[in-house]
């Protein structure tokens, strides 16, 4: 920095001592610089001289107003506290909104995931324990996993609650007597979807549960070992009396995502067929008696033909009853076991780049579409905002002029 740059500061006495000494030395050596410094001093004096003196007025009015109106604002400490309180409230409100939003999203997400899976029947009260009709049995009610208590719900399908570790086993496949109503045969089917730490080990444990319950595995599969997260599916048949206990034990394998249980009361169907079989057997006995009494060949042939038809019908109906009893005695449970992504272990995905690319391109398209939408809105609403804008512009221009 040159001495001239600091000359005004020197004249004003605003230089540090060391620099001041340097400037003084330069002034002593350079008469032209000295003249410049003197000019600066004179100029400052002249500017001061130019400023007029004004007669002070309004002092009392100002003092009066201050006396009446002025109240110092709260100190910085109180302002800080107020800001802290406001900020805390704001943060809590945000957290509240986020929690509500997350809850809604979670519910919507789970409903979206399970929309095709049906749901666990909401069994409340003794009258709803067993479906009354086939339509009742087929009806499925959705229930969010967060609200779902597997043990309670499984028990609600029929029978008293089962203590933990002591599954609610019942002596046979016949549904319990509920509310004094006659007991019946119920065909129970269950589907449960779980998120587990390891699909393979969960599948092994599910196998053990099936055999431990006295049932067997009808089908099991493990997929997605390469390139995706492993998923296992197992379909098991277990004694109906162990249905609820098995569902409960399966639910302990991981996080329950959805549960779907259906029950079909086939008691009336079986009873009808049994009655028909009884009638047919009586008919059969009658034909046998007639056969013994017959003497003509023609009669013999006709009676034997009818006897054969009756026996065939009896066999057929007996098979149906047997099948229904079998279904009622062995329930079917299907468990889908999805392995969750472990923290720190990204989901193996060979096609991530193309998916990210597609996602980015779609995002760009969305943004462009959004901008285009805004432009269209702006254009369509032009009859409203253009006159307002013009009026403001005219008013400002008028004020300026």
């Amino acid at each position: 920095m040159s001495i001239r740059d600091d000359l005004k500061a020197y004249v004003d006495g605003e230089l540090p001592p060391a620099r001041q000494v340097e400037v003084e030395a330069a002034l002593a050596a350079d008469p032209e610089l000295n003249r410049e410094a003197l000019f600066l001093k004179e100029l400052a004096r002249e500017i001061r001289a130019l400023a007029p003196e004004f007669e002070s007025s309004g002092r009392e009015a100002a003092a009066r107003r201050v006396r009446l109106e002025a109240r110092p604002d709260p100190g910085p400490g109180r302002v800080w506290l107020r800001r802290l309180a406001f900020g805390t409230g704001f943060v809590f409100a945000l957290i509240g909104f986020a929690a509500v939003g997350a809850g809604l999203l979670n519910t919507i997400g789970n409903r979206g995931l399970d929309h095709a899976a049906g749901a666990y029947p909401a069994a409340e009260g003794p009258g709803r324990g067993i479906p009354e009709t086939e339509s009742d049995a087929g009806a499925a009610q959705m229930m969010a996993p967060a609200e779902f208590d597997l043990r309670k719900s499984a028990d609600g399908l029929g029978g008293p609650p089962a203590p933990a570790g002591m599954p609610g086993d019942r002596p046979d496949s016949v549904a319990p007597d509920v509310g004094g109503r006659a007991s019946g045969l119920v065909v129970k089917n269950g589907e449960i979807r779980l998120r587990v730490e390891s699909a393979r080990s969960a599948l092994e444990r599910a196998n053990a549960i099936a055999t431990g319950a006295g049932g067997f595995v009808q089908r099991s599969s493990l997929s997605g070992m390469e390139g995706g997260l492993p998923t296992a599916t197992i379909t098991m048949r277990v004694p109906a009396s162990r249905f609820e206990a098995t569902m409960t034990r399966l639910g302990e394998l991981g996080q329950v995502v959805s549960v779907d249980v259906t029950g079909e009361d086939v008691t009336k169907q079986v009873a009808d067929i049994d009655a028909r079989i009884k009638v047919l057997r009586a008919e059969e006995e009658s034909y046998i008696s007639m056969l013994r009494a017959a003497t003509k060949v023609g009669e013999l042939l006709e009676i034997r033909e009818r006897l054969g038809a009756v026996r065939q019908e009896v066999e057929s109906m007996t098979a149906v009853v047997k099948a229904l009893r079998d279904q009622a005695s062995l329930s079917t449970i299907t468990a889908a076991l999805e392995q969750r992504v472990a923290v720190g272990e990204p989901q193996p995905d060979r096609d991530w780049a193309s998916r990210v690319w597609a996602s980015a391109v779609n995002g760009l398209v969305l943004v462009l579409r959004g901008l285009a939408s805004v432009a269209i809105f702006v254009a369509v609403f032009a009859p409203i905002w253009v006159p307002v804008g013009l009026a403001v512009w005219w008013w400002r221009r008028r004020r300026t002029s």
Partner: protein, 178 residues
């Protein structure tokens, strides 16, 4: 004085009124130079009302007058902008001639043409003119000028240097790069 200020900070209306009495003349003159003598009482009154409300933010690390000038400067700037007024009335020949002047220095009167100086001051940019007026007319130090305008003292020094170069060039008919 410190106790008066503390009382004023605590909201004592008499202490606040005393504060007005003590500093009113300086603030009024400051405002009059910027918005003219007619609007100066209003500007000064608003300055004191704001100052009394914000008194707790005054930390006492500078002169109270300087702090008041900072508030007054904002009020005057807003007022001048709202009224779209000529804030340099006192630099006009008619005003200056009719106003009571300070007694000029005998040797400087001969050296510097005052009409030319008024013209040169009017031609300065607002940034430069502000620092010149605060330094020379209000007699503030560079630090105080910086506090009033909200700029560092180094910037004040730089602006003063350039402002005086322009004034010198205008008065002596020299060429200068702005």
């Amino acid at each position: 004085m410190a106790s008066d200020l503390e009382r004023a900070k605590a909201g004592d209306s008499e202490a606040l009124a005393d504060l007005v009495h003590e500093h009113y003349d300086a603030v009024h003159r400051f405002c009059a130079l910027r918005v003219g003598p007619d609007l100066a009482p209003d500007a000064a009154q608003e300055t004191f009302l704001t100052a009394c409300r914000k008194l707790r933010t005054y930390r006492g690390d500078g002169r109270l007058t300087t702090w008041l000038f900072g508030i007054a400067n904002n009020h005057c700037r807003n007022l001048a902008r709202k009224r779209r007024m000529n804030t340099l009335e006192w630099l006009d020949p008619a005003v200056t001639d009719s106003a009571a002047r300070r007694t000029p220095s005998p040797d400087s009167e001969a050296a510097i043409d005052r009409e030319l100086l008024r013209s040169a001051l009017r031609s300065l940019s607002a940034e430069y003119r502000d620092v010149v007026l605060l330094k020379e007319v209000e007699g503030l130090t560079y630090d105080e000028v910086g506090a009033v305008l909200g700029i560092p003292a180094g910037t004040v020094k730089s602006r003063l240097h350039h402002a005086y170069r322009q004034l010198r060039a205008a008065l002596l008919g020299e060429e200068t790069d702005r």
